[in-house]
Subunit: 255 residues, 2 copies
DNA sequence: TCAAAAGTGTTACCTATACACCCATGG
DNA sequence: CCATGGGTGTATAGGTAACACTTTTGA
């Protein structure tokens, strides 16, 4: 009934690792007195070749023999985007036969979080164009994800994951949607927010990203208490900020 | 720097889907007055061929062209174990170069939950031997998983995922460990316990499985209140049980 | 009648929320 | 000074733990 298996007897797919990279961007505002604006950014790569030439796509590439899919993801993040030491989490495998016009290609999808958006805005790589786009999730009127760069907004509608204009390559719109939902889940249940933060941070550095990702709002006072059990105060202060200087905290290890 | 890609230029791995199948077994006790004993079971397949002949392994098989990895998992569950309509969740990809002596084989790992352990004890299939083993997790003295069949106990130690005697094939010990941790997480955070239950169940049907999986114990009274918000009472009762008949509930849809 | 499970109610405690209030500092 | 964010305290609501208690039914 089940034939004796030789791995030569079967067709084999190509396997790739694709990364949905998130980071927090801090706009140093002109007025020192107002609260620093923090936003959630996603790293996308403008494709330089067919198929989907000039479309945005996820950073990623093919798995080489001898390499794990995690190693592939980390290697591609370094090569394509100069993202160093991200936290990566495998959250899905995409394998529909029609997902890639080049042929049978299965993709292992990774959620990747970096602490250092501003530093590596990816003008390091030569041919590859990596961009940090602004990421917004809005479920007030149906579920929508809005990605914004200098020139345009890309809307990912939940109902039809592939946007009409096909600005995103392959099935990457759905992968991005799934990645954000996993990110939300991990931030709520496993404190993954800290993997988007530098080693030292103020309480207010946490709140905006936390609220953007989880979609839940609270007052600064209550947010402080909620998060205080998970962080430890240090002797350092954020001198740059205006008004009362804010104490810097670090994550309590564990989990 | 990055060569123009043709999928013919690269080596391709074989890709498989492997399933860690969990189910709840109810022992109809001889004495009607005592509480039915429920236990967590895991489905393993005794291999009939090399490598790892006669070792236990996960149910699984190779992905065929035109098929998604989910379809592969469901197909193999039907073929090898007669498990029908399980809930499956992809929780990882295993790709270490040395994980399979036959060659370069990447495995997509699925958590699979079935509502009907007792019915399909898998004497349906011919050559393939599928068995439900008792599953126990114990972290009182280091982390251990203990799998038990009629004749033996297999101990998976967290520190060295591959047990010394190599009773489990390939890297399946680690996959099983990871699967249980994901199961625990999903039961705590996303009410996945209901996917191990038939459509109608008593409150006490929930408690033992919930406690085995999460490792948290409470009194029957408090457990009732905790989950009462997630279930809806029906007009049916469990007549078979002794003493006061227990009302049957159903899951409240949503999530 | 009694043991054992089903189910209800009470109290204490812990955490999340709402809100009032003081502190520090650039403008 | 005062607007704005940093930070503390207090009252209230909701959920969980501990435990006492009633109901039901097989043996």
């Amino acid at each position: 009934m089940i034939a004796i298996y030789s791995i030569e007897n079967f067709d084999r797919p190509s396997v790739a690792s694709d990364c949905v990279v998130f980071g927090i961007d801090v706009e140093e505002s002109e007025c020192k007195r107002s609260l620093k604006q923090r936003s959630l950014k996603i790293l996308l790569v403008k494709r330089g070749e067919e198929p989907f030439i000039n479309h945005y796509s996820l950073a990623g590439g093919f798995v080489r023999r001898g390499e794990t899919v995690e190693e592939t993801a980390l290697r591609e993040l370094g090569e394509e985007a100069g993202v160093a030491e991200p936290k990566i989490i495998n959250f899905g495998v995409y394998s529909r036969a029609d997902r890639d016009p080049r042929g049978w290609i299965i993709s292992c999808a990774f959620l990747a979080l970096t602490k250092t958006v501003s530093l590596c805005t990816a003008d390091n790589s030569d041919a590859i164009e990596a961009h940090w786009l602004n990421f917004k999730y809005d479920d007030t009127d149906g579920e929508k994800i809005i990605l914004t760069d200098d020139r345009q907004s890309i809307v990912i509608n939940y109902k039809n994951h592939v946007p009409e204009e096909n600005i995103l390559a392959f099935d990457h719109a759905k992968i991005i949607y799934d990645a954000f939902m996993r990110l939300r889940d991990e931030v709520v249940n496993h404190d993954l927010i800290f993997d988007l933060m530098p080693p030292l941070f103020a309480v207010s550095d946490l709140q905006q990203p936390y609220e953007i990702i989880t979609g839940r709002k609270t007052s600064p006072q209550n947010f402080r208490k909620k998060i205080l059990s998970k962080i430890r105060e240090t002797e350092f202060f954020d001198e740059r900020s205006a008004h009362r200087t804010s104490r810097l905290y670090e994550k309590i290890q564990g989990e």
